[in-house]
């Protein structure tokens, strides 16, 4: 049981500065997820914690030890790889036992730990098989089993579910969460899938180009994104962004552009005042849009033309045009619209997001 501290962590390859000034405190027993687009430095960060990559600058502490100069085996971590990295010539049992064998555990203890782990993961019947005789999901379980028999201080996962099909991925996601609740071991989990990040993480770290963009609990990232990148990355379908001008009319602030005119709600008016006469980016999540009724105030509604209708059963996604802007709305499955029809949409004023055009920071 241990916390992990990363202080001013940097990694430079010959030409790539892969990880930049990462500061992160992973608390004891916490399940933290690093998420971001491919190439943003998640794996590199994780591998520096594991000891598989040299640290260019900065410091990593696991528990109360600085581990910069410790080899992987002395860091008391266990890692699950994307391609499972099972030893193909060993049985499942030997795969799981290997780390303990190398550490000279007595045979009986090894057998007990492997047995326990196999039971937790439901793979008792597979112990005599070789990896190639297993399905993808079973291999994944063995890889997890190999990690948990060691009783490490920290689990490291590098995209462990991305080789599974969609259905299995959802199932394993739930199992991993349950497993973490049971073992209460600190875990750092890397994924490019924001849904995985949101569902698994106690806290989520969003990365881009080697920088940390934001650290927070899932719902915090969703409702209070620190910048335009996080706002667009978290949530599916992605947030709609529109370039709008901030204007002053009738004692209130408005944002407007061709085909769209919305009053700035009081919660945002204070901070947006400084942008009077300038342009900002307006962000609206698809789920914060709905079909307007007669009762909706004209201040928070606008006209659109339906472009594409995507019925998903539980909801309908509408691709719409509002003036020059293309946007997506997520509406009730009962809505009946056809392509090319006019549709008036209403929005949730308190859920609007505004971003500085240059810095892209949340306003």
């Amino acid at each position: 049981m241990a916390q992990v501290l990363m202080k001013d962590l940097n990694k430079k390859y010959d030409e790539v500065h892969a990880v930049k000034d990462v500061n992160l405190h992973v608390r004891d027993k916490e399940f933290i997820v690093l998420v971001g687009p491919s190439g943003c430095g998640k794996s590199t960060t994780l591998r520096m914690v594991a000891g598989l990559e040299e640290i260019t600058a900065g410091e990593i502490t696991i528990g109360d030890r600085v581990v910069n100069d410790l080899p992987p085996k002395d860091r008391d971590i266990a890692m699950v790889f994307q391609n499972y990295a099972l030893y193909p010539h060993m049985t499942v049992y030997d795969n799981m036992a290997f780390g303990l064998k190398m550490r000279k555990f007595p045979k009986a203890e090894i057998a007990k730990r492997v047995g326990d782990a196999a039971e937790i993961l439901g793979i008792q019947e597979l112990l005599r098989r070789k990896p190639r005789q297993l399905s993808g999901g079973q291999r994944q379980r063995v890889a997890v089993g190999r990690a948990i028999v060691r009783h490490p201080q920290v689990f490291l996962f590098d995209e462990p579910l991305s080789n599974l099909d969609a259905k299995l991925r959802v199932q394993m996601r739930v199992e991993l969460k349950r497993l973490h609740d049971r073992l209460e071991t600190t875990a750092i989990y890397v994924t490019h899938d924001q849904v995985e990040a949101m569902t698994l993480g106690d806290r989520v770290v969003v990365m881009k180009d080697g920088w940390i963009q934001q650290v927070g609990e899932p719902l915090e990232l969703y409702s209070k994104p620190a910048n335009r990148f996080v706002a667009g990355f978290i949530g599916s379908p992605a947030m709609n962004f529109m370039d709008v001008a901030v204007t002053d009319a009738g004692g209130a602030l408005w944002v407007e552009s061709n085909g769209l005119r919305v009053k700035v709600p009081p919660v945002h008016a204070g901070r947006l005042g400084a942008y009077r006469g300038q342009h900002v980016t307006l962000g609206i999540r698809p789920e914060d849009l709905r079909v307007a009724t007669g009762a909706d105030s004209g201040d928070y509604a606008f006209d659109t033309v339906v472009d594409v209708v995507e019925p998903l059963g539980s909801e309908i996604l509408l691709d719409l045009k509002a003036g020059d802007h293309a946007l997506v709305a997520r509406v009730e499955p009962t809505v009946r619209v056809k392509e090319h029809e006019q549709l008036r949409l209403a929005l949730q004023p308190e859920r609007l997001h505004f971003f500085d055009l240059k810095t892209e920071l949340s306003i």
Binding site: K73, I77, F81, H89, M90
Partner: protein, 313 residues
Amino acid sequence: MGRVSPDTAAVHAAAPARVTPARARLLVRLRSRSAVGIVMTLPLILLIVGLVAYPFFYAIYLSLLNKRETAFVGLDNFRFLLTRDTFWLVVQTSFLFTSLAVLWKAILGLTLALVIHTLPPRGQRVWRGLSLIPWVMPLALSSLGWWWIYEPTHSALNWVLVLLGFSPKSWLAEPFWARFSVTLVNIWYGTPFFMITYLAGLKSIPQELYESSAIDGANAAQRLRYVTLPMLKNIIAITLLFSTIVTLATFDIVRVLTRGGPREWTHLFGTYAFELGIASGDVPLGAAVSLFMFPILAVSAFFILRGIRRSTS
């Protein structure tokens, strides 16, 4: 298998609108995958028959004739060989030579491959290229070079030995050292083949296995034992088999360095067959000697291939 595969379907679709009956039959034939396969491999099959099967059966035929090739003598040539001490010496030399040479080629090739594999990519290219030189040089030529090195009075090897305070040796004249010298040249010549094959094998081992074993706590020796060697097992088996075949058939080195001497101590099947068949003019007896290689190779191929099949099924 039951469905028409896309490529044959395309053949079908591309057929002209008016199809004569003969043409239709041809198309039906072509639609069978195995027929196409046989037609396409026919040139290769003919080549193999011409270059391998024909000489093989011709050698069997020859070995059953008398010295002047005028009469059929059954297995007399084989029986005669089994009574000859020289033949048994050749058997012994061939076994010793092949097993020691193959073993050392494999050990040195693996060691070299492991060392080169740890170098940065640019260094790898240079060393890989350099270490291939013995293998790409014409063997008859490099054997001549070695003959100079072994030459007793004026050569480098003895000169170095004397410089280091040892007494010079007549490398190719003493039975033990002659066998040693011949084996050494074969090792020198064949190691690059093992090296390059094992290097390719090493590159195909997923890096993650080493990372995983590093986290698991395996040291370098344990990584070699538990990851590298098991992952290379099949390649090792194949190279051993392949090398056994070509090593047992060694000819140039012995022919150039010793001609089988001193007193037949370095004769292998190939050179002994040549000696009897061509130099002494008893072609059937030479053919009989060379045919003794076949059962030896067949048995070793059987065991090695069985090992591979076991480990992969």
